[in-house]
Symmetry: C2
Subunit: 220 residues, 2 copies
């Protein structure tokens, strides 16, 4: 039986690279994408995710999650919280507790009736923000939880887990995904062209600079 | 510092018993409840949960989760799926993949900014349905995942985990929660008074019979 894979696609640089990785690994016809509409302030992310999936020629499903906005208190869904205002130890205000855990659990719930065993996500430990739900040991514990909780084998693939941003850009190049980077969204301020000054823009620029590759987003 | 606890309250017999357990253990002023409005077909559940919280004199928060209905394909949110029609191995059509994992993860996300470390849930391994996300080993893996993913200690309390339904009724009696059982909802058919014929009604009746206690719901 052919193996199928689901890529959790946010419309950002990392998940887009992961989509090309999955196509390379599983074959285009065996890959589909899942995007979460969780009330993100910057709706452009959803448009970018749709454009990326379309460009890759794969099916995209958008699932609504209205719970994070109801929980409130973070800079990604709540207009009243500033991106810069870290308020909890070393965790930034863009940390939404449990976000990746929830997304991957819903991804598994989506895979369950379809017999899909491979879930691909663009999380990375090297991410500047140090989100604890992006770490390898967290994902390993989650994979075990999902297997026990749904009685189905799941492999959570994290091709970018231990790559620097520069290495991620080089991987995108190797996979032929650089053009698609022009369709992605990174800026925490929701600007397009990007603001260039927020932590996400700075990290992205650093990655392209390290790789010695021009970011196509900047020439859009 | 006083320990606080969050009870995941569905409005059913088990979570109501757990609420009384938590009040006994942590003190009424240190307990609050969280109920999920996940598009359950039987809206009476939400009314029961509110009545139970009110009767207990504790705060109740209702969080919306619109994702399960969007995923579809199960008998609890989808009018087109019959309760009786099991379609996946030994799992019944009332199995919503990942439901308890999602609820407990959102519960932890709710607890996180509030510094609450204790989460109480009415899941039981002895439940007739054999839901894999109700088992002790699944919950242990989830607790580890939540701790790693949110950098906060969480204890998931499952006071009913290894009790039979009869023992659960005896525990409710010991905790003074029998009267509150008249406010709860169990019937999979959404009927009140209960249909008496669905698997949930039969299991509930068996529990009260084993305990030798009259179900106050039947004299409502």
């Amino acid at each position: 039986m052919t193996e199928q894979a689901l890529v959790v696609l946010s419309g950002g640089q990392d998940s887009t690279t992961c989509l090309w990785w999955a196509i390379d690994r599983f074959g285009r016809e065996n890959v589909e994408t899942l995007t979460f509409d969780y009330g993100q302030r910057h709706r452009v992310e959803l448009q970018c995710a749709a454009a990326v999936a379309d460009s890759a020629g794969v099916v995209q499903t958008v699932l609504p999650v209205n719970t994070f906005a109801a929980l409130g208190g973070n800079a990604l869904t709540d207009d009243g919280v500033a991106v810069a205002g870290a308020d909890r130890g070393n965790l930034p205000s863009t940390f939404v507790p449990g976000r990746n855990l929830i997304f991957l659990t819903f991804a598994a719930a989506y895979c369950w009736p379809r017999g899909i065993h491979h879930i691909v996500t663009g999380v990375a430990q090297t991410d500047y923000s140090g989100y604890p739900d992006c770490r390898e040991e967290t994902l390993a514990a989650l994979a075990q939880t999902l297997q026990l909780g749904m009685e189905q084998d799941f492999t959570i693939h994290t091709p970018l887990m231990n790559l620097t941003k520069g290495q991620t850009v080089l991987l995108a190049k190797e996979l032929g995904a650089i053009d698609a980077m022009g369709l992605t969204h990174t800026c925490y301020e929701g600007q397009r062209p990007p603001c260039g000054a927020c932590p996400a823009c700075i990290l992205r620029a650093k990655g392209f600079a390290e790789a010695g590759i021009a970011d196509p987003l900047l020439s859009v």
